[in-house]
Symmetry: C2
Subunit: 343 residues, 2 copies
């Protein structure tokens, strides 16, 4: 499979990539071991793509934009992979992103590879699989890997934690009450793209001004903070030495794609020159390892017989104020790992 | 100690509280057990105070404001406890908050109890001790417990996660470039207080308008989100059904204290009537338990001999891209808990 991924011709390669990702998505221990071995074999060939994240609410036009951008890049001789993290698919069984009918032109193109969100697992699990799929696409020589997510939850943090640049998509009426910007997401954006600008040019201009001032308001003087934010702990942090930009587009009419791509290139050139590009990837990898460790520890804790037995009563007792939260935590930890933490 | 805390006269009680907190701050296993027993004995008497959080950068005037508010409340026949979380004291050994010379008048008052930040431990550990100290003060019948922190790190999230209402303090030039609002902190504030309004009334008015619009921009439509934010996971979430307010004060001249207190009372009345007050406390307690469990699991993981041996090389290999983060996580988990997570 490794050779087909690295050196296969277009159709052989695409089939091999799809197969590899399916293997990596499997939860069977044997597949997991094979997947690890494959990933380790591919790793020396990864890291050369530009990893681009896109986030935005349903209806903002992500698919249209990504398809237009993808075709634009292919026109320039580049190869493009598109991966999706859809937090709704694991919860509801359905998918907000409605993968079936999306990006028809791009998906038929030989120089493109499109993979929908894994349809089961926690967000952490889905994100892990997407991250591994990204590495497979990189090894296969895709120049740009786009990771897309819907802006309804924590998935932006996951995407920001695995990409070089996060583009947040907004509708022109972004300043209005209903179309608000979600908690903490604005702080992660390296670029804000106001799409569908054609439907209301005035609103788009207003939104551009409002979001620009909002971005300034959330600028940080806390980079040297002793205690990182939870988002930073997830490896998701807006680029240093970069003033996030707000631009407009109308993907349906192919407008703004060149401006978007120019901004992306400028970002990439700057970040590579000042070393931030490399540093971000290193800290993402390490943060990712710790996230998986934390998730694994919690899972094995929850599976522990003594915890399974005591957790329901202790949780209820904590909620009703009969027992202090810290006391309950110590009881459960002592039962599970036979050790009481001292701090 | 329990009886002295619950029923002692002013000076006996204050000494008993101080002693109890020292016991709870101890990391010795024997003290920990005694502390747990004391806490369990006090728990039935807790929960009746109003828990008020204050956050702001050094120089914003927190001590002056809290002292003025404290004396105002004591004048009204209330008892006030002030606790501090200073993330800098554990890192540098010094303290940004400079506890020694602060709140002289309030600290001398019989109806007040003031306790500086524990001077060692991680932020999580310090926050846990502060939370436990808060319970002791509640059992002793303090009507209002104020938890103060300096706005330079994650400590606001910890404070928001243990209080009923978070007040974010700002200087009048808050809209300017240097005095920016930190990542995600604005989203936690139930009330923003622009202090030192007397030094520049125009700037204070401008800041009030800017912050108000910033607050609207960060309003959420994600309350029903399938995947909570990391801050929500820490039990820190701005109150529902409440439009955060921006008011001005000049603590040095005693101006704005009555407006502040009126807003706090309005908030409390509303939140109690709609049930949000109770719900917030319940979810804080549960979130707190899980935070301590996570921290404990991670600590026992890091102490595991196999992890101590393998972690340095694996971390380096992940950073340099020789091994996938997820593979390294699985290796380490298998070594520590003998179990490979499937998701």
């Amino acid at each position: 499979m490794r050779d087909a991924i690295l050196h296969g011709d277009a159709s052989v390669q695409r089939r091999a990539i799809a197969k590899a990702i399916t293997l990596l998505e499997s939860t069977r221990a044997q597949h997991r071991a094979q997947g690890d071995a494959l990933l380790t074999a591919l790793l020396p060939y990864t890291g050369k793509s530009l990893r681009l994240g896109f986030s935005g609410v349903p209806g903002v036009g992500k698919s249209t934009l990504i398809e237009a951008l993808g075709l634009y890049l292919i026109d320039q001789g580049r190869r493009v992979a598109v991966l999706t993290i859809d937090p709704s698919s694991s919860v509801s069984g359905g998918s907000i992103l409605g993968d079936k009918t999306r990006m028809e032109k791009l998906s038929m193109h030989e120089q493109a590879f499109i993979r929908p969100s894994p349809s089961s697992g926690t967000l952490g699990g889905v994100a892990e699989k997407t991250r591994e799929a990204m590495l497979v696409c990189e090894a296969a020589g895709y120049d740009i890997v786009i990771v897309e997510t819907v802006g309804v939850g924590q998935s932006e943090v996951a995407v920001a934690g695995m990409t070089d640049m996060l583009v947040l998509m907004q509708l022109p009426n972004a300043g209005d009450d209903l179309q608000a910007i979600k908690k903490g997401v604005l702080e992660l954006a390296d670029l804000v793209l106001i799409n569908k600008a054609d439907i209301d040019a005035d609103a788009a201009t207003r939104a551009q001004a409002q979001i620009s001032s909002g971005l300034q308001l959330t600028e940080i003087h806390g980079h040297a903070s002793a205690h990182p934010q939870p988002q930073a702990a997830a490896g998701a942090q807006r680029a240093a030495h970069w003033q996030p930009r707000v631009i407009t587009s109308s993907a349906l009419h192919g407008q703004g794609i060149d401006t978007l791509w120019a901004a992306v290139r400028e970002f990439q050139t700057l970040q590579m020159a000042n070393g931030a590009f490399h540093t971000r990837r290193q800290s993402q990898a390490l943060a990712w390892m710790w996230q998986r460790i934390d998730a694994g520890l919690k899972q094995s804790f929850k599976n522990h017989p003594a915890v399974r037995q005591q957790l329901p009563q202790l949780s209820a007792a904590v909620q009703s104020g009969q027992i202090a939260a810290s006391t309950a935590a110590r009881h459960l930890l002592a039962a599970a790992v036979g050790e009481v933490p001292t701090d």
